[in-house]
Amino acid sequence: MGGTRILREFRFRLNGEEVSVKAPPAYTLLEALRYVMHLTGTKDGCSTGDCGACTVLLDGRAVHSCLTLIAQVEGREVITVEGVGENIPAAYAEEGAVQCGYCTPGLVTASAALLKQNPKPTVDEIKEALRGNLCRCTGYVKIIKAVQRASGDV
C-alpha cells in the first residue's frame, strides 16, 4: 500500500510510566511497541490473533497487541512482558518451561492476567486461561507447572 503516512501522538501508561509515542494511528500496538519504542519482548507470531505470542495486558486484561490499534490504547494502561515483574518469568525458568522461547512472553503475560484475578488457580483453570496461547514446541506440561509454581503452589 502506498499513500501518505499519517503520524499522531498517543499517550498511555506503559509498564507503570506515562509515555507518548508518535505513530500512524492504525499501527498495531505490537508494531508501535516493537518498531517505534523498540520494546521487543512482545513477539509477533501469527499476526491474526490465533497464537497469543503478542499478548499484553490492556487495563489489566490479556489482549492481542497484534489486533489492537495504537489509537485504541490512548489514555489506557498497557503492561508488556517487560513490566510483569520477576515472579512469573523466574517460575518459567525454574520449571524449564521455555524451549525455543518464542511463545513465552505471551504465556507470561497471560499467566499474569490469570494470577491477578485468581491467585490460586487449579490445573483446569490454568488450561482454560492459557487456551489462546500456542506453544509449538508443545511444552505445555512444564508451562502449567510454571504457573503453579508462580502461584506458590508447588
Binding site: M1, G2, G3, T4, R5, I6, R8, P24, P25, A26, Y27, T28, E31, S47, T48, G49, D50, G52, T55, L58, R61, A62, V63, H64, C66, L67, T68, L69, A71, Q72, E74, G75, A110, A113, A129, R131, G132, N133
Partner: protein, 292 residues
C-alpha cells in the same frame, strides 16, 4: 500481511461526536470496535477501508442493565464481561455460555457484542443465542434511533438493514421467565480459539405439569448465508415429550432449514451431518437437565 500505516483513524470522545463523524463521512469509513476480526481483514486485504472510526474509547457504550424485565447491553460490552455478568447468567445463560465459546480470553476481553453483530459473520458465536432470545438492536443516528429485531437485521450474506450513518449502540432482550432451559453448542477445529464449523442455540420452555415442550426456539449458525431459525424442528418440538424418537426426528428436521457451503473449515456434507448431530446431542442434554 499489510501494514496499516496510511489508514486514517478518527477517535471520538462521545457517541454524539461519533455520530457526527459517521454522518459527515458516511460510506467512506468503517467503524472499529474491538477490532479482533476487522484488523485481520484489513491486514489480509479482505477489507480495504482507508478510514476507521475507532469507538473503542466510548466507555458509555459498556454496560449491562436490567430494566422492567428487559436486559440492555451496551454495544461495546466485551464477551468476558457478558460471560461473567450475573444479570446475563440469570436471565439468559445461553448467551453467557456463547460468550465463553467465542474464543480465547484475549479475544473475549477485546471483542464486543456490537462488533460481533455488525461484522455479520454467519459463524458468529453470539448470534444463535441472540436469535433464540429474539434480541432487538438499537441503531442510532444524529436524528434519533430505531430498533430492529435481530432476525430482520440480516438480509443476506453480510447484508444488513443498516444505513452508513447509523451506529449500533445497544442490544436488548426480554429476560426468560420460568420453565425455559437453553444450551449453546459449537463445533470448532480447536477447542481454545476457533471459528465455528457449525454452532447453534436451543431454548425450550418445559411444561412440567403435562411433561411436554411448550415452546421451542432453535437457531443455527455457519450453515446458511445468515444465522437461521430451524422452523420445522421447532414446530415438531412443540407439544412433544422429548423422547428418543422425537429427539432424533427433530434433529433431522433441521436439514430443511439449512444450506451450508464447502469452505476451508469443512464441507457442506460434513456441516449437515455435524449440525444434525449437535442438535441431537443438545436436545438430549436438555432432556437430561429436565429430568427425562
Amino acid at each position: 500481511m499489510l501494514a496499516l500505516g496510511d489508514v486514517e483513524v478518527y477517535s471520538p470522545r462521545t457517541v454524539g461526536e461519533a455520530l457526527e463523524i459517521l454522518r459527515r463521512r458516511a460510506g467512506s469509513l468503517r467503524v472499529i470496535a474491538g477490532g479482533t476480526d476487522l484488523v485481520v481483514q484489513l491486514k489480509t486485504g479482505a477489507a480495504r477501508w482507508r478510514e476507521l472510526l475507532n469507538i473503542y474509547g466510548l466507555d458509555e457504550l459498556r454496560y449491562i442493565k436490567y430494566v422492567d424485565g428487559e436486559v440492555k447491553i451496551g454495544a461495546l460490552t466485551d464477551f468476558t464481561t457478558i460471560h461473567e455478568s450475573p444479570i446475563v447468567k440469570s436471565t439468559a445463560p445461553v448467551l453467557a455460555q456463547a460468550a465463553f465459546e467465542i474464543g480465547s480470553y484475549q479475544i473475549m476481553n477485546k471483542a464486543s457484542i456490537g462488533g460481533n453483530i455488525v461484522n455479520a459473520s454467519p459463524a458468529a458465536d453470539s448470534l444463535p443465542a441472540l436469535y433464540v432470545l429474539e434480541a432487538v438492536l438499537k441503531l442510532e443516528t444524529l436524528d434519533g434511533f430505531r430498533t430492529v429485531p435481530v432476525k430482520e437485521f440480516y438480509k443476506g450474506y453480510k447484508m444488513l438493514d443498516m444505513r452508513s450513518d447509523e451506529l449500533l449502540t445497544e442490544v436488548s432482550y426480554r429476560a426468560l421467565g420460568d420453565g425455559w432451559v437453553g444450551e449453546f453448542f459449537k463445533h470448532g477445529l480447536r477447542r481454545g480459539d476457533a471459528i465455528a464449523v457449525v454452532n447453534g442455540a436451543v431454548l425450550l420452555k418445559w411444561n412440567s405439569v403435562d411433561g411436554v415442550v411448550e415452546d421451542a426456539r432453535v437457531a443455527l449458525g455457519a450453515v446458511a448465508p445468515t444465522v437461521v431459525r430451524a422452523v420445522e424442528c421447532e414446530k415438531m418440538l412443540r407439544g412433544s415429550r422429548l423422547d428418543e424418537k422425537t429427539i432424533r426426528e427433530c434433529s433431522e428436521a433441521v436439514l430443511t432449514s439449512i444450506s451450508p457451503i464447502d469452505d476451508v473449515r469443512g464441507s457442506a456434507a460434513y456441516r449437515r451431518e455435524m449440525c444434525v448431530n449437535y442438535v441431537y446431542m443438545t436436545l438430549w442434554s436438555l432432556a437430561r437437565r429436565l429430568g427425562m
